[in-house]
């Protein structure tokens, strides 16, 4: 059974069809990239899966359980953790505190209005482990707002990992990075993905990043899936090349 399964997922904004009958399956342990030109519906797809936006129609199953239409905090608690295209952190907290707050969200005692030393300790352990996975241990005590952009992007991934998710959703993890920063971030991500064997759904603009990280690629164009397969297969696909060259009208 696929870990994440979408079927007939449609999202309309008035007359605009942002997602049109999208179907895809993500297997356990797979790194899947979703690519497509600007406005293809990649971020909408993420928002629909994570519950930020409700689908107009269609079903989404996570480990067999339907999740379409659930509020985002509930989807997140089932084990889907996401990062954002535009960096979203707690700028005045240290990197470690950022990851700790992420880890605490999974703890049944997160509501506790007094004490909580044990909860903090567990969160701290998970946070430190996640920071270590992404090579951020050295900057753990620095305020997140003062980190380099590359480290901020990785910190977001570490925060998602501190939640020990079953699926990691990365929305353009190298967005806004310089070529050099992108190279470093992708090296770290590739090492981390290989070591952790996480199931990942990745939206990315940068083709080099996609081909380095993904096992399988789904191509979106104007809200529909136009190709789905291994990287070489997709690269050779005529429809994909047309879409990226601005054809297919």
């Amino acid at each position: 059974m696929p870990l994440l399964e979408l079927d007939g997922v449609t999202r309309r904004y008035g007359a605009l069809v942002a997602l049109d009958q999208v179907a895809m399956k993500v297997e356990d342990g797979e790194v899947r990239a979703v690519i497509g030109p600007n406005g293809a519906g990649k971020t909408t797809l993420f928002n629909v899966i994570t519950g930020t936006v409700k689908p107009t129609a269609g079903t989404i199953r996570f480990a067999g359980q339907p999740i379409a239409g659930l509020p985002s905090h509930q989807v997140c608690r089932l084990g889907l953790s996401r990062t954002f295209q535009i960096t979203s952190l707690f700028p005045e907290m240290s990197a470690r505190q950022n990851a700790e707050l992420a880890a605490q969200a999974r703890h049944p005692g997160r509501w506790r209005p007094f004490g909580g030393a044990r909860i903090f300790k567990e969160a701290r352990q998970r946070a430190d482990a996640a920071l270590d996975q992404l090579g951020l241990t050295g900057i753990a005590d620095r305020p997140a707002g003062l980190l380099s952009h590359g480290d901020q992007r990785l910190l977001e991934v570490a925060m998602a990992m501190a939640q020990q998710p079953r699926v990691l959703l990365l929305d353009e993890p190298t967005q806004g990075l310089s070529v050099e920063e992108t190279g470093q971030a992708v090296d770290t991500l590739a090492r981390f993905l290989q070591a952790s064997r996480m199931t990942v759904l990745l939206v990315e603009h940068d083709m080099e990043v996609v081909f380095r990280l993904a096992h399988r690629i789904t191509v979106l164009h104007r809200g529909t899936v136009i190709a789905d397969g291994a990287p070489e297969q997709v690269k050779a696909d005529q429809r994909v090349q047309d879409a990226y060259l601005g054809g297919l009208d």
């Binding site: 994570t50 905090h73 954002f84 907290m93 506790r112 209005p113 007094f114 925060m159 939640q163």
Partner: protein, 320 residues
């Protein structure tokens, strides 16, 4: 706690506890009111300073608590101690509804809804004469001793200790709260609510909870004020008071709990001193407020701790 800080606390505590021995009655009246207002300002700090929920209608909590306590004391035989806590609790329960409604919106709209709610209560206090006494308010509120004793609480000094105990209790409660896992989530909401939601927290429930706790403590302060002053009137629900308590929090130093208490005392002191000197005291206090916002946004407590830390830099710094 570090040695220097602890000794400062002990001195402050002793001064407050021993104050009735040395101060003349009118000064005790001022000090009691400052303690009550301090609790009120501290309650707002939970929302304003720790969660960045800006309430423009915190007078709703104060006034509601005052009217509830006054009504209980006038119309039931309930002893003072119970009436005060019952009124605080009632305010907190009422605030679950307020929080539920106001958190439908965020940012400025949230603030406007809190203001609208306070104005609603203000209007009700005018019109519902049979319960609120209309524009006369509730007068002659007794400090009922009740069958269980506690006679000492109804004296001037005893009432001061009651207010002081509520302030200290409120402080201990709030400081435990902001250091807890719950408090960590509040800080997350303050810094980035969207991210906090994305991490899997139901931020709206946290916000409703903090509004209820904050209003409950504000209501407790109002509940102390009614038997302290002997009356409850519509001014306790007026937006002017909502503005003043925000000023107390900002001048004292938001997000510190202690700061707003100092801010309330400072506000009382200034009101007292400046109004003896000029009719337009509010104008001058306004200037002081502007000066704080521009030059010391961290407030009185921020300035004080800044100086303390500067002194500590001379020595090898202990881990915070």
């Amino acid at each position: 706690m570090k040695g220097a800080t602890r000794s400062i606390w002990i001195v402050v505590g002793l001064v407050l506890v021993l104050a009735p021995l040395g101060l003349p009655p009118f000064a005790m009246t001022l000090l009691t009111e400052a303690v009550i207002l301090g609790l009120f300002a501290m309650s707002l700090d939970l929302m304003f300073g720790y969660t960045r929920l800006v309430s423009f209608g915190h007078a709703a909590a104060y006034g509601f608590g005052a009217y509830a306590c006054g009504w209980l004391l006038l119309n039931t035989g309930m002893p003072l101690l119970f009436a005060v806590f019952a009124a605080g609790l009632l305010t907190g329960v009422m605030a679950i509804g307020v929080g539920w409604m106001c958190t439908l919106a965020t940012g400025v709209s949230f603030s406007m809804l809190t203001l609208a709610f306070a104005q609603l209560l203000y209007a009700i206090s005018f019109k519902w004469t049979s319960v609120t006494g209309g524009s006369d308010g509730l007068a002659g509120i007794p400090r009922t001793i009740g069958p269980l004793g506690f006679a000492a609480l109804s004296s001037k000094t005893g009432f001061y200790y009651l207010a002081l105990a509520c302030l200290v209790g409120g402080f201990l409660l709030c400081s435990a709260l902001v250091r807890s896992p719950f408090g960590a989530v509040l800080r997350g909401i303050r810094e980035n609510e969207a991210k906090t939601t994305a991490l899997g927290y139901n931020t709206r429930l946290y916000k409703i909870a903090v509004v209820a706790i904050s209003y409950g403590l504000g209501g407790l302060a109002g509940a102390l004020y009614a038997p302290f002053a002997g009356f409850a009137n519509t001014e306790l629900l007026f937006w002017l008071l909502s503005g003043q308590v925000l000023i107390m929090v900002i001048v004292g130093g938001s997000g510190t709990l202690i700061g707003p208490v100092l801010g309330a005392a400072f506000f009382m002191l200034m009101e007292h001193q400046l109004s003896a000197w000029t009719e337009a005291w509010a104008l001058y206090f306004g200037l002081i407020f502007i000066a704080f916002v521009l030059f010391a946004p961290q407030g009185i407590w921020g300035l004080a701790t800044g100086w303390l830390q500067m002194g500590r830099l001379q020595r090898p710094a202990p881990r915070p």
